[in-house]
């Protein structure tokens, strides 16, 4: 808003007075101060103007025909609380002035007044109204900010009534009722630990400041799985140091907890899979050294003792490495490109054929129809089919057959890796895509693996917005089918 020449307008003032002499005098003084001034000859006219636009200040004469200044004041207070009202009192009666102030006028100015008096009272008012607006602005800015936070935030007053609770907070504690502002904490927060944290924060003596920190487990509710929250609660204090209330912040750490858990499962799995065989080796050597497998010559003994020492060192090293081990990066590369699945499958089969042949297994591709390109990550797809083919070979006895087939169905490219191997027991079918899950029975207990292969396959396929399913019959074999969306479909 500007009034010619780019001069910045200080604010907008409405002058409501039935005396045109006063109106014009006010206009002269106020425009000179840089205000945008609008005049009204009576209350109704004034209120009509207020409905259309915002005024920072309204100067209103108390004694007017048509509508009194008191009525104008009441209407403004009700509908425009941000507007400052200054009353002009014709008779300078104390009673009128006091009554006007009681009804919400900011100040009064007695007639007749000098330009200086007007300037001074308007300057004071504009400072006040600006300060109010600043507070309102920062309050609203703050509210938007807090409401947008991913963390849950709740503040209470000293009586444990809720002053503010953002949507994230309410979501995290599973609140789905109406507004919580003004309610007592215990009406809204069901968790005992969270409540007692707030009590503890409120009871904290003024000269101490400690943040109370706890980890909280929130049971599953609605469609929400169980979550783990980091909860921080602290008192906030007034100028005198007294506790005015509390602020509680909830941070969802479920994902990082899950990662930790995965890391630890991984470490444990590696530990089991690497240290186990080494322990076996040590015992095998010991049995030979004990002469249980026949006479041992001095030279053989020396060699075996050295081997045993080396393996001991290795097991120690594995233990230490595992203590340090962390899964650093995600397993899936994300960059996708147009991929010719036929070529990929042909390369896969050529790559795995020697290993299959060595195990006495025939590995081949069924005749493929014309296949569309898919958008996929080549390394990811290689990993998927390497895992499926390797598994098929591993879990098949000699003289069996592993075959790959592909086709298009309803916008999805489906690739099936089928074997005629041991098959998967029905009770294991649901679990086989879980990390570290391995099927072990009389046929398969000697087969080595990490139990991560199918979990990796599933996460890669999911990242491609595809799906994987398995059909299996014990003793007859398994078929894993990966479905991936066709480009542009």
């Amino acid at each position: 808003m500007s009034t010619g020449a780019g001069a910045k307008v200080k604010g907008r003032i409405l002058v409501v007075d039935d005396e045109s002499r006063i109106r014009e005098a006010c206009r002269m003084v106020l425009e000179e101060m840089g205000f945008d001034v609008v005049l009204a000859a009576d209350g109704e006219q004034g209120l009509a103007l207020i409905r259309d636009r915002h005024f920072d200040i309204i100067l209103v004469d108390l004694m007017m025909p048509v509508m009194s200044g008191f009525d104008v004041l009441a209407a403004v207070r009700e509908h425009h609380p941000d507007t400052v009202v200054i009353v002009i009192t014709g008779y300078a009666t104390v009673e009128h002035s006091i009554e006007a102030m009681k009804k919400g006028a900011f100040d009064f100015i007695p007639k007749p007044f000098t330009p200086d008096q007007l300037r001074s009272i308007v300057t004071k008012s504009i400072r006040y109204t600006r300060a109010l607006q600043d507070i309102a602005d920062s309050k609203s800015r703050l509210r938007v900010m807090v409401n947008r936070l991913m963390d849950g935030v709740m503040t209470t007053d000293g009586e444990r009534r809720i002053v503010l609770a953002n949507p994230a907070f309410l979501h995290m504690i599973g609140w789905s009722g109406d507004t919580v502002v003004g309610r007592l904490v215990e009406e809204v927060v069901a968790d005992d630990q969270l409540r007692s944290m707030i009590d503890e924060a409120l009871a904290m003596p003024p000269d101490t400041f400690t943040e109370i920190v706890h980890e909280l487990s929130v049971a599953a509710w609605d469609s929400q799985p169980e979550r783990i929250l980091d909860v921080r609660c602290a008192p906030f204090r007034g100028r005198t140091g007294a506790n005015l209330g509390t602020i509680t912040v909830l941070h969802d750490i479920t994902a990082s907890k899950k990662m930790e858990r995965m890391k630890s499962d991984f470490v444990s799995m590696v530990s089991h899979e690497i240290r186990g065989p080494m322990n076996s080796l040590l015992m095998q050597i010991q049995v030979i050294l004990d002469g249980l497998a026949g006479e041992v010559t001095a030279k053989q003994r020396e060699i075996l003792e050295r081997a045993s020492g080396k393996i001991h060192n290795l097991t120690n090293m594995v233990s230490e490495l595992l203590d340090l081990a962390r899964i650093e990066a995600g397993l899936i590369a994300n960059a996708k490109e147009s991929l010719d699945i036929r070529r990929l499958l042909e390369e896969q089969v050529a790559f795995h054929r020697p290993a299959a042949a060595a195990a006495g297994i025939t590995l081949e591709i069924e005749p493929l129809p014309d296949l569309p390109l898919i958008q996929a990550n080549p390394q990811g797809m290689d990993e998927v089919f390497t895992n499926l083919i390797t598994n098929a070979i591993k879990y098949s006895p000699p003289d069996s057959r592993v075959s790959l087939a592909a086709g298009v169905d309803a916008g999805f490219l489906a690739v099936t890796v089928r074997d005629t191997g041991y098959g998967i027991p029905e009770e294991d079918l649901e679990e086989i895509f879980a990390s570290f899950y391995r099927v072990k029975d009389a046929n398969t207990r000697t087969i080595h693996g990490t139990g991560l292969g199918l979990a990796i396959v599933k996460s890669i396929v999911n990242a491609h917005r595809g799906s994987i399913r398995v059909e299996s019959k014990l003793g007859q074999g398994s078929a894993f089918t990966v479905s991936l969306p066709v480009s542009g479909a």
Binding site: S264, S271, S280, M283, T315, S319, R445
Partner: protein, 127 residues
Amino acid sequence: MSKNNLILVVDDDTDLVEMMAMKLESKKFRVAKAYDGVEAMARIKEERPALIILDVMMPRKDGYTLCNELKTSEEYKGIVVVLLTAVTDAISSTNYTHMGGKTTLADDYVPKPVDMDKLVEIVQDSL
């Protein structure tokens, strides 16, 4: 030796079972073998061993669970149970050792890697 000297060795590592069996047989013990907790229970019912050498981490039924079942059963609580543990602090929070740190009802335990002379000693002392 007129008393029961049958020992059941249970571990999902077949090589390990074989080696322990060879060692124990060389000391004139009779040995039965099982490769998971469920199989072990079947052997126990059939063959009534005097002592079980029991691995902790096994498929189908782990050693803790089986040990607990035996020691709380009137019929089998007299069988001596020696746990084989490779459990270290570093992995105590994982699902493999979900009972890690808990008191077990086992009579003794031998850490992995197994010192087989120590194992024989424990077996001899226990019977």
